[in-house]
Subunit: 183 residues, 2 copies
Amino acid sequence: MKSKEKLQAAATKLFMEKGYEHTTVQEIASLAGVTERTFFRQFKDKSDVLFDTNNELGQGVSAFITDKFEVEQKPLKLAVEGFVSISEFFEGSRERVLARNQIIQSNPDLQERELLKGQVLIASVTNSLSAKYDSDVSELAARFAVEIFHMAFIKWINSTEKGLAEHLLTVYELYENSFCCVD
Amino acid sequence: MKSKEKLQAAATKLFMEKGYEHTTVQEIASLAGVTERTFFRQFKDKSDVLFDTNNELGQGVSAFITDKFEVEQKPLKLAVEGFVSISEFFEGSRERVLARNQIIQSNPDLQERELLKGQVLIASVTNSLSAKYDSDVSELAARFAVEIFHMAFIKWINSTEKGLAEHLLTVYELYENSFCCVD
DNA sequence: TAAAATAGTGTCACAAACTGACATTTTCAA
DNA sequence: TTGAAAATGTCAGTTTGTGACACTATTTTA
């Protein structure tokens, strides 16, 4: 096991046991059997240990959108379908995702970092949409789609009933029924 | 002049001159003629000096929405009109807002804090909408409205031509024309 | 296989952000 | 004027985060 993974495991364990604020990097490093200095070489700061910088989500959604390049469709619908397409990626790991989410919600620093990660996601989706649509339209669709995903995601981690894909469609329908067309 | 204001002025000046990261709290305090300790009594952390915690924006938008309680209207439209109603509040201060925005965009910590403030705004708007609409509908409308505001805001600080209210309406129309109704 | 490049880690010293405890000053109303 | 309350100063200490350099393990290449 690499030290990066050991640090991530140690950090998660300690954050759950005694809370994020009351866990020092020192302690995380000790539990992982390395030095504090090594922690900061693997992660840019304390909160970084909970976030993967890969943006796999954005990659996946973008790939789907790019793939459907030729299909005639409204941008928001397309983006939401992009999220639906990667929702199976989460299916096995609801428990783990829920635990991680609880840690994040317990601390403002972590919430902030999560939000910044959301911006990266928006940028990805915007970028893939803009091959087909106007740049402002793409950005707005990306932002709305991410909000829909966010809302569906919250519902999903708190429910054992329906899957993420179903929640996504439910929220999208809620949008269509409540917002669309003339008043 | 209260020390809080002196600290804010000093911080803004230094952040513009030498950048956020290269300015220490020590320096800010010295320039303001107080102690580092006093800084941390006025602001919870270094970045806090750039953010007012009043949420005046949220208050204003919420007040408008609550006021239009009886009027029959789609939730997103109502929320956007709420933002339009407070847009004159900004009109005189484009230069200052632009400068502040440039500081924020120069540093991830500040971006994160700005995003967290956005969440507070969303909560306000959601709350005022939910007197009239279903809770999920209210949240979604609030989130979309804040995104529309955000986009209009960016356009506004970079243009001397149109006012914020006009940009808001333009973006809202962009939304209506591109997303609404059946495909 | 031996030598050499390279990636990962340890050690140390230190800057900067932040906090708690207590002393001192300022303010302002009775 | 005085006396309580609010703001500020002082100081010691913890925690986060970084630079510099030495050391070790792993991999590459001759």
